[in-house]
Symmetry: C2
Subunit: 314 residues, 2 copies
C-alpha cells in the first residue's frame, strides 16, 4: 500500500484504508503526515462529540445505541474508543467494545480503539490525527469515548466540540467524581442505567448540586429509552454553539493546543534521540557521579549544555 | 524560615523542616536545589524499599506494621506515599494513610504523602528529591508506597533499591495484574490478607506461575502475623544485593535516569516558558490557521523554528 493509495482510499470512505492510516498513527510512522497535511481542508467538517464518565456507567452500550440512531438518520458516523491506560494491542477490553459497536454497524460506520506507544502527549496528538482522517473519509459525526478517569478526561474537552458526561443513578461516589473535575467539562449530563423514573430522581439531586443551567438527559441504553432525545440534544447543543460563536472559540483553542503539542513532541523526540546517541557517554558520567567525582546536579547541567550545543549544530 | 535554617533542621532530623523542604519540592520552589546539592553526600545512605501492588491488598496497613517493626529495631524510618493520580492537596485518601502511619509512629518516624503540580516526570523527580532529604535527615530505611496501578509502578523500580509486590489471596484478577507487569519489578512477593494458611495456598499457585526462584512471604498485617519475617527478608535481600553488586548496578541506573530526567525537565520548562511568553503570537497564528491562511502543520513548524532561535540566544 503506498501513501497515494491510502489517501484515495480514505477519501472514498474505505474502512481498510482508514484502519491502515490510524494504525500508522498509533505506531508512529512519520510519513503519514504527508497525507495529514493534504487533509487539512477537511478539518472541522464533522461534529465531534466527547463521551466520558466514571467506569461502569454504560458508556459503550450508550454509544452503540447512538450509532444505531445515527444510521437511522443517515449520518455518516465514526467512533474512537480511547483508553489512555492501555498500550497498543493490550486492549482486550477495547476490542470487545469495538465489536459491540460493529454489531450494530453498517458500512457508513467506522469504529476503532486508539492507543499509542508511549507518552500521553502522543495519545493526545493521535486523537487529533485520527479525527482528521475520519473527517477526510466523510464522517459528519464522530464520537470520542474515554474510559477510566483522570487527566485525559479533561484533555478530551480540547478534542471534542461538545462533551457529554455519563453518570449512573445516584451513588455518593459518582457525585464525588463529578465534583472532582467532570463538572467543568460537561456540556450535557446523561443519567443512564436503571429505569427512567429512578434516573430522574438522580437528576433532581444533580440539579441541586450544579444549579439550574446544566442540561440533563435521561437514558436507559439497555432498554433503548431516551436515545433519540439524547441524540437531538447533542445536535441542538452543537448547533447552538455554532451560532453563538462558542464552537469557533473551542476550535481555535484546539488548534492552539495542537500547535503547542507539536512543539513539545518535536523536542521530546530530539531529547530522546540525543539520549540514545549518548548512551556510552551517559554511562561514563553516571560512573563518575556514583564514585563521587562529580555531583549529580553538575552532571545533569553538563548534559543539558551538551544537548543545547547539539541543537545549535542541527 | 531561611534555607540555612531548613538545611540545619533537616540535618538534625527535625520533622518540621523535613516537611517544609518536601512541600517546597512539591510546589516547585527552585531554591530548594541549593540545599539538595549540599545533601548529595548523603545520597545512598538509606535502604530504599518500594512497596506496590493492586489496590485493596492492604499496603497501608502492612506499611504501618513495618514501621512499628522498624521502631522496635531502633531503625530511623521514613515513608513516602505516592499517588500519581492525585494532585497536590487533592488526597484525602493519602491523608488518611499518613495518619494511619502516624498513629504507630514515634519521633524517629517521618511519613508523608507526595504529589506535585503537573506532569508525571515532575513526580518522579520529586521522589528522588524527597528521598535525598530523608537520607540527609538520618533515615536509614525508607519505604516508598504507590497506590493505583500503571506506569509509576515500574518507575518505582528505578527509585527503590528493592521492590516488594503485595498481593491478596488468589483471585484471577490479581494474577492477571501480576502477569501484566508487576512480575518484572518484584524482588519479593508478599501475600497479605486472609489467614496465613489460605495465603500459603495462593503462594503455591503463584509459584507455579513464576517458577521457583522468587521469594514469597506470607503476612496478615491486620493480625500482625509474618511482619518480622517480612522485615527480615527485606533486609536480607538488600544485604545480598549489596554484596553481589546488584545494588551498585541499580543505583547507577537510578543516577542515569535522574540525569536524563533533569535534561527532560529543563527543556520542558523552557518550552513551557516559551509558550507563556508567546501567548499573543500563538493567538495570532491560531487565527490564521483557523481562517485557512496557513496549515496547522506549517504553523507548528514555524513555532518550532522560533523556539530553536530562542535557544540560540539563551
Amino acid at each position: 500500500m503506498d501513501l497515494e493509495q491510502i489517501k484515495e482510499g480514505i477519501l472514498h470512505g474505505d474502512r481498510r484504508y482508514i484502519a491502515k492510516a490510524i494504525t500508522m498513527i498509533e505506531e508512529g510512522y512519520t510519513n503519514i503526515y504527508e497525507i495529514l497535511e493534504d487533509f487539512e481542508e477537511y478539518s472541522g467538517k464533522a461534529k465531534i462529540i466527547g463521551i466520558t464518565g466514571p467506569p461502569g456507567v454504560g458508556k459503550s452500550t450508550l454509544i452503540s445505541k447512538l450509532v444505531k440512531e445515527a444510521i437511522n438518520r443517515n449520518h455518516n458516523v465514526g467512533v474512537l474508543l480511547v483508553d489512555p491506560s492501555s498500550p497498543i494491542s493490550g486492549g482486550a477490553l477495547l476490542g470487545n467494545r469495538v465489536r459491540m459497536i460493529e454489531e450494530v454497524s453498517d458500512p457508513k460506520v467506522y469504529a476503532r480503539s486508539l492507543a499509542t506507544r508511549g507518552w500521553t502527549g502522543g495519545l493526545s496528538r493521535a486523537i487529533d490525527e485520527a479525527v482528521l482522517i475520519l473527517e477526510a473519509s466523510g464522517k459528519d459525526i464522530i464520537f470520542i469515548e474515554t474510559v477510566g478517569a483522570g487527566q485525559i478526561e479533561t484533555e478530551i474537552f480540547k478534542k471534542a466540540d461538545i462533551v457529554a458526561v455519563i453518570l449512573m443513578p445516584y451513588s455518593g461516589d459518582e457525585i464525588q467524581a463529578l465534583k472532582a473535575g467532570l463538572m467543568e467539562i460537561a456540556d450535557i449530563y446523561v443519567i443512564n442505567k436503571g429505569d427512567l423514573d429512578r434516573n430522574k430522581i438522580t437528576g433532581v439531586t444533580l440539579r441541586t448540586i450544579m444549579g439550574k443551567d446544566k442540561r440533563i438527559v435521561y437514558t436507559s441504553a439497555l432498554y433503548n429509552e431516551g436515545i433519540k432525545e439524547l441524540y437531538d440534544s447533542l445536535i441542538n447543543i452543537w448547533d447552538e454553539y455554532s451560532k453563538s460563536g462558542e464552537l469557533d472559540k473551542r476550535r481555535k483553542l484546539k488548534i492552539k493546543s495542537s500547535i503547542i503539542e507539536d512543539l513539545n513532541s518535536y523536542f521530546l523526540k530530539l531529547l530522546d534521540d540525543f539520549v540514545k546517541n549518548k548512551e556510552q557517554e551517559l554511562e561514563k558520567i553516571t560512573e563518575e557521579v556514583y564514585q563521587g567525582k562529580i555531583s549529580r546536579y553538575k552532571a545533569a547541567k553538563n548534559v543539558i549544555e551538551e544537548f543545547k550545543d547539539s541543537l545549535h549544530k542541527a
